[in-house]
């Protein structure tokens, strides 16, 4: 099977700082990729490059054989992007915001309204369609962002911390949606700190640390011992250990003498 995403020797610099050190990746269609790493490891930067938001990089990046720099428009028609930053035009209502996004994908207003209303109802926002989003909670905005990324039925979906701010029921729903989208043949690149979710839904896990891929494969292949969790694996691979001692030192802070104002 032909890879749907191909990354060759991807390098990215912020000023003089190299944040991606020559990444190589091939992703097959219909997979759920769990893209994990510590804060600042380079996850969001990779996804921003794939989504066509950042064209200042070295190396080759192609989606369905199209170069992300040369064929940006064609690529953007087939991808959906859900950003990490909860960025939204919050003075708009969900309906207005989704109409804008849908029209930019050349969907008819009827289709946009029909689809976005259905999707928002499933997320429990059916009664919020005409309310301005500057009064919304973080979770409500995240639901609108999720709908905006899926509205045009993309083939490839980039999700950067999609569960951020969601309540437990919405988390279950989104996880199930991701699984079913993959079953429909869509490719999902899923960035998250939530190891539990990544472990459960991903076909393949890619671990990035300091701009380098240090592990790549299905969870079953990656774990070293029976019973290990992804969380433990993550700590081992990123060289972080001794949490028990650190926690112990932390709690010992209270044993030092204290002084209070009367």
């Amino acid at each position: 099977m032909e890879p749907i995403i191909r990354i060759q020797n991807l390098q990215k610099f912020y000023g003089k700082k190299e944040v991606l050190h020559g990444i190589n990746l091939s992703i097959l269609p219909g997979q759920i990729i769990g893209y994990i790493g510590a804060n600042g490891a380079g996850k969001s930067t990779t996804v921003r490059i794939l989504a066509g938001l950042d064209k200042q990089f070295n190396g080759e990046v192609s989606i369905k054989g199209m170069d992300v720099r040369q064929d940006a428009l064609a690529i953007k028609r087939i991808i959906g992007y859900i950003p990490e930053l909860n960025e939204i035009y919050d003075v708009l209502t969900p309906k207005e915001f989704l109409l804008t996004v849908g029209r930019l994908h050349d969907l008819s207003d009827e289709t946009i309204l029909q689809r976005s209303t259905d999707m928002l109802v499933y997320f429990g926002l059916g009664d919020q369609l005409d309310n301005r989003m500057d009064t919304f909670s973080k979770g409500m905005r995240q639901k609108v962002l999720l709908v905006s990324g899926l509205l045009h039925n993309p083939e490839i979906i980039f999700m950067d911390e999609p569960l951020s701010g969601l309540d437990a029921n919405a988390v279950i729903l989104v996880k199930e949606i991701i699984v079913q989208l993959a079953e429909q043949g869509k490719t999902v690149i899923y960035c998250s700190h939530n190891m539990d979710t990544v472990e459960k839904i991903s076909d393949r896990i890619i671990l990035i640390d300091n701009g380098k891929i240090i592990a790549d494969g299905p969870f079953e292949e990656l774990r070293r011992n029976e019973g290990d969790s992804l969380e433990k694996l993550f700590s081992q691979l990123t060289g972080q250990s001794g949490f028990e001692q650190t926690a112990n030192a932390f709690t010992q802070s209270f044993s030092k003498p204290e002084d209070r104002y009367e």
Binding site: E87, L104, R132
Partner: protein, 565 residues
């Protein structure tokens, strides 16, 4: 108005397509931006912003406001009968207003990094996004310029005939193009010299200055022009004005309609005629490309990766404790009050909303003070002599400062991060009154007292050292008025209410109460100073005692006195 402007987009479909712009995308982006314009807060209308409900005819209202401003500008044409002089002042005011509006009111729209996350991942060409930005600015300008220009156009047709109007319209156009060049240059200079975060801070500073200048202009200019210039004076005689592009426009008028062929008028007129061509060339050839590149870099800088932490020096890092720590240690009674004092100090120091709402009040006080000098006529010395004959005038200014101190106190209840007020509830605060008094003391120490020292100093410089007793009594009385007003009105913890609440009549009630108290106490002070001057000195300790009594009462507010939202 928006519908009319938007429907004009489709009239140019062949043009858009030839430029590689998709008309439907263009329409969608501009439509969305115009909706957002209608709901965002601007420097001009920030006092009445934040209405969540759509107000019908808001555009018409805004245009009516610009129309009123246009009337004010028209006044220059009316007051200065020699037309080129009037036009010079008119175009100076117009260009300054347009530049400041674009910088202060429109920057957040132009430098909207959310575009990078919302528009860039969609299948929209960069040309479409670029043209949408230009159209957005153009529509914004149309809505601003037409109502501004109409009063002057009507006046010129009546006063000078249709030919004058035919010349005035292209002059307005030239003035607009030159202003765009100027704004573009300012943007680029700032973008080159500063970081994205600092850039926005500078722009916020512009907003405050803009309000101050608008207010000062509204209060002072008509009086000054009426008093000093009047009549048939030819301002273009002053060759230094040749450095102002507005003089070139006035020179075109002189040369074209009045037949003035004085060499310098001729040179200025040529400069005026050439300037739009040169401006358009510079904008199209160099500045717009550089601007787009910088904007993209700003967008990336606004992301997660390059945000540099804003470092704040702690007292441990400084050689000496800060003014906040020193004063806090000195005037706060306990740690709760000090917590309220320092929290309020830091938040007001860093909150844009607070600065935008409070600092213009300080400017307003300064302008009122300057307004005193606009009384009467003559040079500075003559005006001072007139003022000296009205010794009690300073009492009005000194007591007016109560309104400023109280508005500061009132504003400390509000914040964008009002939900963070959970900290008061989650921590063992036995007497929340100390949090309130901490915030009150902060306003007094940080804003009121320094401002009052300046005001008192200026007052003493005019009316002499004998009025020091009045200055001291007025200060103690203003402290008393403001603490009474706070004790009666402020029962919300610092920064615990959303800004929407500020527009629900609280501030109005507070202002009326403060004015009433100021008038009564100020009136008593006046009577005392007039009939029993020694009583002024006797009243200082009495007022002081009363102040401390009310402060003590305020500090003892319990949770039952606090309104929790």
């Amino acid at each position: 108005m928006n519908k009319l402007l938007l429907s004009s987009i489709y009239l140019f479909n062949p043009l858009w397509r030839s430029l590689g712009v998709e008309p439907r995308h263009l329409y969608t982006i501009v439509e969305t931006k115009l909706i957002m314009d209608g709901r965002r807060k601007g420097a001009i209308s920030y006092a009445s912003n934040r209405a969540k409900k759509e107000v019908k005819g808001q555009d018409v209202l805004a245009m009516a406001m610009f129309g009123l401003l246009g009337l004010l500008f028209m006044f220059f044409l009316f007051a200065l009968r020699y037309r080129p002089s009037g036009l010079f002042v008119y175009f100076s005011g117009y260009m300054a207003f347009l530049a400041m509006t674009l910088i202060s009111d429109f920057t957040d729209v132009l430098i909207d990094v959310r575009d990078n996350y919302i528009l860039l991942p969609r299948p929209v060409s960069s040309r479409t996004v670029g043209v949408s930005r230009i159209l957005h600015i153009l529509f914004y300008l149309i809505k601003l310029i037409i109502p501004l220009a109409v009063p002057a156009m009507v006046f010129l047709v009546i006063a000078d005939g249709v030919l004058a109007l035919l010349l005035f319209v292209p002059l307005m156009l030239i003035a607009t193009i030159m202003t765009l060049l100027l704004v573009n240059l300012i943007y680029l200079a700032l973008m080159n010299l500063t970081t994205p975060r600092r850039f926005k801070e500078i722009i916020h500073f512009f907003q405050i200055v803009f309000f101050g200048i608008s207010f000062a202009g509204y209060q002072l200019l008509p009086r000054l022009i009426g008093a000093n210039l009047g009549g048939d004076i030819n301002l273009l005689d002053n060759h230094w004005f040749g450095f102002a592009p507005s003089s070139w426009l006035a020179a075109i008028w002189s040369w074209w309609l009045l037949g003035d062929t004085t060499p310098y008028i001729y040179v200025w007129a040529v400069l005026g005629l050439l300037s739009p061509v040169v401006s358009i060339f510079l904008i199209a050839q160099f500045l717009s490309q550089d601007f787009n590149a910088k904007l993209l870099a700003f967008g990336e800088g606004g992301g997660t990766h390059q945000n540099r932490a804003k470092k704040v020096k702690t007292d441990q890092q400084k050689a000496r404790p800060s003014w906040m720590t020193l004063t806090g240690n000195w005037i706060c009674k306990n740690t709760t009050e000090k917590a309220g004092y320092e929290l309020s100090w830091r938040v007001t120091q860093r909150s844009r909303d607070f600065k935008l709402k409070f600092y213009p009040n300080l400017v307003m006080l300064l302008v009122y003070f300057l307004g005193i000098f606009a009384v009467g006529s003559g040079n500075f010395r003559e005006r001072m002599e007139i003022l000296y004959e009205y010794p009690m005038m300073y009492l009005g200014v000194l007591y007016f400062s109560a309104l400023i101190s109280m508005s500061g106190n009132g504003l400390t209840s509000f914040s964008d991060q009002f939900k963070s007020a959970w900290i008061y509830l989650a921590n063992p605060v036995a007497q929340p009154g100390y949090l309130l008094s901490g915030a009150y003391k902060m306003i007094m120490v940080r804003f009121f007292i320094p401002m009052y020292i300046v005001l008192g100093g200026l007052t003493m410089a005019i009316w002499g050292p004998l009025i020091i007793g009045d200055i001291l009594l007025a200060m103690v009385n203003v402290l008393l008025i403001s603490i009474c007003s706070s004790a009666l009105n402020t029962n919300n913890l610092p920064f615990s209410l959303p800004w929407e609440e500020a527009s629900k009549g609280r501030s109005f009630g507070l202002a009326i109460l403060t004015m009433l108290m100021s008038t009564i106490i100020g009136g008593l002070h006046f009577l005392l100073a007039f009939y029993f001057p020694i009583g002024v000195w006797l009243m200082i300790p009495l007022s002081g005692l009363l102040f401390f009594r009310v402060l003590h009462y305020y500090q003892n507010f319990s949770w039952r006195n606090i309104s929790l939202n």
